[in-house]
């Protein structure tokens, strides 16, 4: 699974996710990636989120919308929101994976509970950051 979140110079956010799913999937199995609110969500009132991991858990928690709701309705920071959902809620139901997120003010965040996540971050006036391992 791959994904990108972005905020432009006008403060509009957007999120996109794309995947091949899981190896040897059967019976028309679909994970969270194409489900708005689970693998992908974006609102200028909160943030844009893209997720990756074992999709069934991200569907059950509606991960992307949960992160946006924490930011919009509880006023927590973007990093606190992604950590609460991934490190606490997702881990509590034995889910595995990660998310990336960006806010309308240009704040970036990511969180994952697996041993690695291919990730990159770039922003106006900031250097490119690329990561793989925890």
């Amino acid at each position: 699974t791959v994904g990108v979140v972005a905020v432009d110079a006008e403060g509009n956010v957007a999120a996109g996710t794309s995947t091949g799913g899981t190896t040897a999937k059967q019976w028309g199995r679909v994970g969270d990636s194409p489900l708005i609110g689970c693998g992908t969500y974006a609102s200028n009132k909160s943030c844009a989120v893209s997720a990756t991991g074992t999709g069934e858990f991200f569907i059950r928690l509606a991960v992307a919308k949960e992160i946006a709701a924490l930011v919009e309705h509880k006023g927590v920071s973007l990093q606190e929101a992604v950590d609460e959902v991934v490190q606490t809620q997702l881990t509590a139901i034995d889910g595995d994976g990660g998310v990336i997120a960006v806010a309308p003010d240009g704040t970036c965040a990511w969180s994952f509970n697996t041993s690695g996540m291919y990730r990159a971050r770039i922003a106006d006036g900031e250097p490119l950051v690329v990561g793989i391992y925890k």
């Binding site: 791959v2 990108v4 432009d8 996109g16 794309s18 999937k25 992908t40 974006a42």
Partner: protein, 187 residues
């Protein structure tokens, strides 16, 4: 506002011992290329939507990642792709699942959002909609084939005690995909 972009290429079992130096470098170079592609759109005053599509297309075209070319296989030996996109300004959204002939599923998801009254199209219907869109490139299913993912499928099916499907015709070999690490996406 300050423009910014974050990208991921998948999460999973990715330990330092898993990746050979040339594999790690290939992944780092690819992620840098993805970020720079999106940043170029934003630097030019482009929209977040355009930046997301431009960057995701690079990830879909890159056989190292499980999306587009280099996607994993179903138990029947097919590539069935999913994608979604959402615009934070308007809360418009588009998504597809189980598509088999669209080179860049993120482009199709955006077409669903902008050129249909729906949010989510799946399977043959989504493939049929794609064929009516001039701006959504269609390819033969064998375009998505990579050797590394096929070998992962065979290994997985053996473990599941399921039959190995016929190897797709015109299935090419792809050295770059030989660098693809299987981060453990299991059916």
């Amino acid at each position: 506002s300050k423009w910014a972009l974050v990208a991921h290429g998948g999460a999973g079992v990715i330990d330092r011992s898993d990746l050979k130096p040339e594999q790690e470098q290939a992944y780092r170079d690819a992620m840098a290329r993805v970020a720079e592609t999106g940043a170029a759109v934003l630097r030019d005053g482009g929209s977040a939507m355009d930046a997301v599509v431009a960057a995701v297309r690079v990830l879909e075209d890159e056989p190292l990642f499980n999306a587009g070319r280099g996607a994993v296989f179903t138990a029947e030996g097919r590539n069935e792709l999913d994608a979604s996109i959402m615009d934070g300004r308007s809360l418009d959204a588009g998504a597809v699942a189980g598509v088999t002939r669209t080179r860049n599923p993120i482009t199709l998801a955006r077409a669903v959002m902008e050129q249909s009254p729906h949010v989510f199209l799946v399977g043959e219907g989504a493939d049929g909609f794609a064929q009516t869109r001039d701006d959504v490139a269609q390819v033969e299913p064998s375009y998505f084939f990579t050797e590394r993912r096929w070998l992962s499928l065979e290994r997985e099916l053996k473990e599941m005690g399921l039959p190995i499907p016929e190897r797709p015709e015109r299935a090419g070999h792809d050295d770059l995909a030989a660098l693809a690490h299987d981060e453990g996406k299991r059916g």
